[in-house]
Symmetry: C2
Subunit: 460 residues, 2 copies
């Protein structure tokens, strides 16, 4: 740890905090049109702030909320991109907040505000790390380029379109992307998330009769499309929750030995997890651990199902149609397009003769898994250890962060997922908060990374 | 056919029609509270009309729209009950009516109005038959008791409560019940419906996690209740639409030889039926005919299914629960309570371990099947032949008419389902109509029945 940087952070603790509070006061709720002016003011505040500490900064406009782009020159022309987002989730239910979501308050060593952990607090740790470097060491070891989007919480297109458009220019010289929008193991144990599951989605509609039919007049002679849909879904998953589609698991990469050992050492508490999920029993038992199931195995989920009469009481009809919304979580090295084709073929094959199947909105993004021995990730590991005083753990994530795959694909660069939040921080919930201790530790970790020349080596 | 009665009907054709038009002008829509005054006026008009032609008449009040009760003494103290209803369906979509629904209009030999066929036209044929008898023969062969309810279209309790309450008194001396709220084979061929399917209903809810869960965090380790429901339903029906619940078919009465022959002679047109249903194929092929399937076999229908996210686009959740609304059509001699118990036990047995099943609102009413050799039905057959000049056919009905089962159970009497409508008459639809020819033929048939002493013999 650079002594001067460390000293600078110590000296400016209170100012850093009050600046973060300023950042958090913007009600930058991207999903709500009424907050468009707040989005704009927040982006402009970031621009001004970046410039005030010595970075070039500008807005990247698109069809939605702008990206804040800021650049600090480095000692080499290799580049690290730091990704984050300045938009936040809506705040409702508002009456469950102990202090107002946009009046950041310090209490019990935590900063309470919407966006405190997701993602303004994490973003701002990187910003303050750059300020500390520019005011002490003078420059990071390579160029640092901030790309802070305003549409993470509303699923916009400005950042993906920008990456597609500028990919050649951005790829040249970029050694990696740092994303701080994930979690630590616990408040004393930082983590690097080296793999994310991908997603495949489709909507199935099974059509029976042209209109709802009287079940007394037609029942027995006309097939029921809701029954057809139930049958088809039963041919995809068995009652143990296992996927029974031929070829679905093609290519699934088995866990490496180091991963099995690592998972075991993470000390996952199944009973606590079960209680948190609110279920009487987890799936299984079988040979796979819970972490393997949620991190390294594909799934087939019915997210929604509907058809026929949904109101109070009953209605004696054969429904005209029934629909299921399906998403699958994919793992390395499943080929998303092959999975989609396999599932489509299987569903057509098990669709009863009397029904007509339509599949809409089928799309898929692959899982990602980064080599933990890349210079970037090794550097991230050292930086976290120095910043937090504790060795980081390697974890995977069962969810998908589409932007990570977009970065990896467009820039052909590794992504370091180095998050500073905790599950208990209440992201997306009332009373979101961020530990002040984590904030300052994150600044130190970020500074270590930016000052480490080997972080800029890329995979080569 | 009694000559004097026939002559009387001929002499009074125009007045009968204009009286029916008066009856049809009441907007007696039982389901719409705004029409309560119209319901009341219509019931009072019936009372006045019955009294004007020489019957005792009164209202039976209850928790809803009243029953109009009218009595004509007969030559014996044996009794026939004539059931019908004076309430009608709502009229929307109003702009599809060629002439206003409550301004009865004669066009092309048909009377066009809401209620023309369902059920005012059919009811009024019986009323005019009694008038013709009282003015010619002097009295029917036994007592005739009209019970005309005002809640057939809105599912009220006034009539069932009345029947339960008065069953002993009503049963004594009652030889049978005549219901004219069903259909003929075609405009030249009257029909007697001798069997109706029963109904069993239940609502299944499969509970998984306490709340919707993030499918990235929990997917793979936590079971999906929509998948559990689909599995359970797939264990009730196979893709050919056959019910695979052990014991479900216990007691199902096979078709008698005369029924098979009769069904074959009815000349059912499968291709027309398929087109009407709007499906690419009917269930099957198998050894059963379409009429056997819809009239004499039980069904298991999913009327509605829902769970999880039902909105636009997608949401990556494991839903907390999923629900299916189920109705079954029952046939003679299934025991409805046993069917309910069998299905409940089966569903519990196939419910995956991770899910919790709740079954709500389970109820069942049995199928009915009347002996076509009973004196009442034999008399009905003669009456229809004389009234319509054509031999009636015996048909069954795949639907359920709950009041028929209530009458049969409370009064332990046979029910003669002798309907004068046609499927094409547009009951429940815009431009409902009733053939004037059928109206006058029905008056004659009803008079024949009321004058036939053997109709009052009951089953004994």
């Amino acid at each position: 740890m650079d002594e001067k940087v460390s000293h600078y952070v110590e000296q400016n603790r209170d100012r850093f905090l009050s600046e973060l509070q300023e950042f958090l006061r913007f009600a930058s709720v991207s999903a709500q049109p009424a907050h468009r002016p707040d989005m704009r003011s927040c982006a402009q505040w970031l621009i001004d702030h970046f410039r005030s500490i010595g970075l070039e900064a500008s807005l990247v406009e698109g069809d939605g909320h702008p990206i804040v782009r800021a650049r600090a020159a480095g000692r080499s022309d290799r580049r690290l991109i730091i990704y984050g987002h300045y938009d936040v989730q809506p705040v409702d239910p508002l009456d469950e907040w102990l202090t107002p979501p946009f009046e950041p308050t310090v209490r019990d060593g935590q900063l309470w505000a919407r966006g405190a952990t997701d993602d303004k607090g994490q973003v701002f740790a990187h910003v303050k790390a750059l300020e500390a470097i520019l005011n002490t060491a003078g420059a990071p070891a390579g160029e640092v380029l901030f790309l802070l989007e305003g549409e993470e919480e509303c699923g916009g297109t400005v950042l993906p379109h920008y990456l597609e458009r500028e990919k050649d220019q951005l790829a040249a010289g970029t050694a990696g992307v740092v994303v701080s929008d994930s979690e630590m193991v616990d408040e004393n144990t930082p983590a690097i998330t080296y793999a994310l599951r991908g997603t495949a989605a489709m909507e199935l509609t099974v059509q029976g009769p042209r209109r709802d039919l009287h079940s007394g007049t037609y029942g027995g002679a006309v097939g029921n499309p809701a029954a057809a849909l139930a049958w088809m879904l039963s041919q995809c998953l068995n009652p143990a929750g296992e996927i029974t589609i031929d070829g679905f698991h093609d290519g699934v990469r088995p866990l490496a030995d180091w991963e099995k050992e690592n998972f075991a050492q993470l000390g996952h508490q199944d009973e606590a997890f079960r209680q948190e999920a609110g279920v009487s029993a987890l799936l299984g038992p079988d040979e796979a651990t819970t972490l393997e199931k949620v991190w390294a195995r594909p799934t087939f989920e019915i997210n929604g199902i509907y058809g026929g009469y949904l109101g109070q009481g009953g209605k004696t009809i054969i429904p005209a149609s029934a629909t299921a919304k399906i998403t699958m979580r994919l793992v390395p090295d499943q080929d998303p397009q092959k999975v989609i084709q396999t599932v489509k073929r299987h569903l057509q094959a098990v669709c009863p003769d009397f029904a007509r199947l339509t599949i809409r909105d089928a799309f898929a993004t692959p899982a990602v898994c980064f080599d933990i021995d890349s210079p970037l990730i090794r550097s991230g590991r050292r930086a976290l250890e120095q910043g937090f005083g504790s060795e980081p753990r390697f974890i995977r994530c069962g969810g998908s962060i589409p932007v990570v795959e977009t970065f990896a694909r467009c820039l052909k660069a590794p992504v370091l997922l180095m998050g500073f939040g905790l599950t208990s921080n209440g992201a997306h919930s009332p009373n979101e908060h961020f530990a002040l201790k984590s904030f300052y530790q994150a600044i130190r970790a970020s500074a270590c990374l930016a000052l480490d020349a080997s972080a800029y080596q890329g995979t080569s």
